[in-house]
Each structure stands twice: as C-alpha cells, then as structure tokens.
Symmetry: none
Subunit: 231 residues, 2 copies
DNA sequence: CAGAAGTGTGAATGGAGTGTGAACGCTCCC
DNA sequence: GGGAGCGTTCACACTCCATTCACACTTCTG
C-alpha cells in the first residue's frame, strides 16, 4: 500500500464564476496529489487531513482579487501555517504581485498548462522539506523503505542482503499473490538467469529466519505452486 | 550617484543558436536591471560586479541541455555562490527539472512574456532579501555550513577537500537515501563526467577516514546498490 | 621550477553474499 | 503403510563486490 498522497487545499469562491478550480483539481489528481476544495480559512481547519496540508493552490479571481488574497494571508496565520502557497493569476494582473510577496511562494499564469503546474508544485515541495515523503511499501507489521533500502518488522529493522531485499520487495508489491519459483527467478533474478529452483527456496528460508518465529508465517508456501506474502 | 542596478548574469552558449539570450537581456534592461552576458563559470569571476551578482538567468539550450545545467551547478560552487538562479526552459523539457531541484530557484517557460520574467525576478529578489535559505545542514553530530563551505563533527571542524565536501553535502541533503555510484557520479561530479565507479569508493573512503573511527559508520555501504548517509 | 595538495585509476586483497547438491522430513494418495 | 513428490535445511564452494593501496596526473603556490 503506497503512502497517502500529499493533500493540497484548492481555494474556491462561493460565487465560483471561473471554472479554473476544476482544472486545478483535475491537474492535481492527475499528478498524483489529493486535491481538497476549501471555501475559506475555517475549511482549512475543518477539512485538514491527518498528514497536514502539503500546500495550497489559490486562483486569484479576476472579479474579486481581495477575497483570494485575504485567504492567502489568513492561511499563513492559522496554527499550522499552510506552506507553500501557489497562486494562479491572469497575465493582466501580474502587477498585483509586487506588493504581496509575503503572501505567496510561487505563481502560475492562467490559463496554465498542467505540466507546468505539476513542475511548480514539485519544486515547491522539494524546497519546503525535501519533497514528498519517502516511498514506503507497507503490509501489516512489515514496512519497506524504497529510498533507504531498509525493511522493518514492527519497527525493528531487518538486516537484509541485496537479494533478500529484492525478493521481499517483489513479493510485498503484490501482497497475497502467489508466484512460482520460475516467475520469481525471472522477475527478481533476471530473465537471463538460469539457475536451480533451490535458489528461491533458500532465500525464502533466510528471509523467514530473519523474520523470526513470530512473523515467519507471513511468507507462505503454496504447495506445488510457489510462495506468497501475506499479512 | 544612484545605486547601481542589480546585476544579473545571463548565460550564453558560444554557439548561441537561440536568440533567447537577446530577449532576456532586453527584458532585464527594460526592467531596470543590469544584464551581463557570461559564457562559462570563469566569466562569473572575471566579470563579477563590485556589488556582486544579484542572480543568474540560464536558458536551457534545447540542443545541449547538459552544458546549461553544468553552469547552474558550478555557479553554486564558486566562492560567492550565485543565487538566485532562474532557468529558462522549453515546455517539452519540463521533465528535466524533476531531478535537478537543487540547481535552480525558479523556472520560466520559453518563449516567455517580459512581464512574467520581471515578476519572477522581483519575487526571487524579495525572497533572497528575506530569510536567507537553509544555510546550515545538520544531521546528528554532523553540521555543514553551506555559506562558509565548512563541515564539522560534534563541533570539531573537518578539513575537507572540494570533492569531499560536495559529495558529503549531496548525501547530507537527502539523509538516509541510498544513491548508486552512477547517480553520484552524475549529480555530484556532473552529467558530462564519465569516470570509473572506483572514484566514488575512494572519496567515500577518504571521508570515512576524516570522520574518524567513531563516526565512520555514518556513511553506510549498501552492498551492490550504493552509499547512504545516516545519523 | 620544485614541492605540495587534490584527484582519478588500476590492481591486489579480503570477505560478505550467493548458489548448489545432498540429506532430511513432511504430506498426500494409492 | 509405503512410496512418490515436494519443501526444508544444512554445509560448503565460489563469485562478485567493496575496500584498500600505490601511483600517475593535474593544478596551484611559493
């Protein structure tokens, strides 16, 4: 199971004359983020995800800029200040930015291209804390950190070798699914690999040993078929 | 005598096929800045104004991106690191940004509208005048001062060479994350560098030696994968 | 120009990691 | 109950990888 997607607040005015918010929401979703519409600062508290806000996207409404700017200002004042703030603004309103530097972190011309918005968001995320959280694979008590090449069982780190790690990762990416030895040799060891089926057995055995008696059952044997990783 | 206009370095390739640099220079001048064309990092030192660089504008040449990126990287490594860096990039090359966040501060789609460039520059200037960025990187007993190019372990200064420092800084910016030798060669030594993987090993070894026996374990080897910096 | 410091490369070394064969044990089915 | 089939376990040999060393090359400095 992948880590929860970073949640972004998308400011929408009650008199949502523009449909830009729709475009924003769609773009965020396509880029793998979690867009949540908010109408005012109270919504920021009410709808705050457990993981907090990864940032906010604020379209500056052409017919009522002050409301949008007020939202930006207030979003910085709540208990858990929202950063970063990306402002969406029409080309003819660029001059408004000059006196409001402290109210936004980056801006994007409207209409916008989705890939530019995504690029700006990713750059902001990186700046404000080294980007999105680490890529984790979790399955019950097991968690695998794909960035650090570390696996842990109920928080206790497992000292795995390269092949053990690769095998476990492969199994954990398709929890519950049974893989034959042949498939495992192909997908984990490589297509050109031509070794005995005993190889898989032994690595499973070593994994189970490191899991400890308590969790060894997570790797299940399916007789005359292969192996499967369960919770 | 009026205050000198902020000076911006504009990167131009010798084979300046694109005329984007001309546009950049004109826009900067119109906005009241002082554009100075530079062809490489040596020019940054040779033509450095008395007031220092206010920033740099770097067009990413479509036919030779790596030269432009190398300039960005090196501009951050000179004695008086150039910040901020604004990158000018074609829409079809946006994906290049994802792995180079540390090499630029903001980007602008090419072709660009002069008023957007001016707005971006003014926002960058405002930001750099505010809180100077994270000039200190800390990780357990290790602290790295990005401004003075000094690293220290439990307060004791480490006498690092240039490459040792760059390698350590890169690792410390993503604590815990494993990097392969290939990635390290690309991102620390440079995309255009094509050397043996032993180079990385040796520099790691020298870093560990300077860390001393007590802290050598901070740089961990992940067998058949790469290296990782931990607390 | 001599010397020092920084950096990259090839080769030797040691060891962790990996694969294999054989012995053992379990389960199912005739 | 006995055998066939399959998985498990063990010990051992070998491969590959990281480490280390020595040295060549470049750059800088006095």
């Amino acid at each position: 199971m992948p880590t929860a997607a970073p949640a972004f607040a998308v400011f929408v005015t009650p008199s949502s004359s523009s449909n830009s918010a729709v475009e924003v929401v769609r773009t965020l979703a396509m880029a793998g983020f979690d867009p949540i519409e908010v109408a005012d600062v109270n919504d920021l508290k009410a709808h705050r995800p457990d993981t907090g806000w990864a940032g906010a996207i604020v379209p500056i409404e052409a017919d009522d800029p002050s409301t949008s700017w007020a939202f930006c200002r207030d979003a910085r004042r709540v208990n858990d200040p929202v950063v970063p703030i990306l402002v969406l603004i029409g080309g003819s309103h660029l001059s408004e930015l000059s006196e409001r530097h402290e109210q936004f972190d980056d801006f994007l011309l409207s209409p916008f291209h989705p890939s530019e918005m995504e690029a700006r968001i990713r750059h902001l995320l990186w700046r404000s804390g080294q980007g999105p959280g680490p890529e984790l694979v979790e399955l019950g008590p097991l968690s695998i950190n794909l960035e650090t090449y570390q696996a842990a069982l109920t928080g206790r780190p497992l000292d795995l070798t390269f092949m053990e790690y690769e095998l476990l990762k492969f199994l954990a990416l398709s929890p519950g699914k049974v893989f034959s030895r042949e498939v495992l040799l192909n997908r984990v060891w490589g297509y050109e690999y031509y070794g005995g089926a005993r190889t898989v057995d032994v690595h499973v055995r070593r994994l189970r040993a490191k899991f400890g008696e308590e969790h060894a059952h997570m790797i299940q044997t399916v007789r005359s078929v292969g192996y499967r990783l369960d919770k």
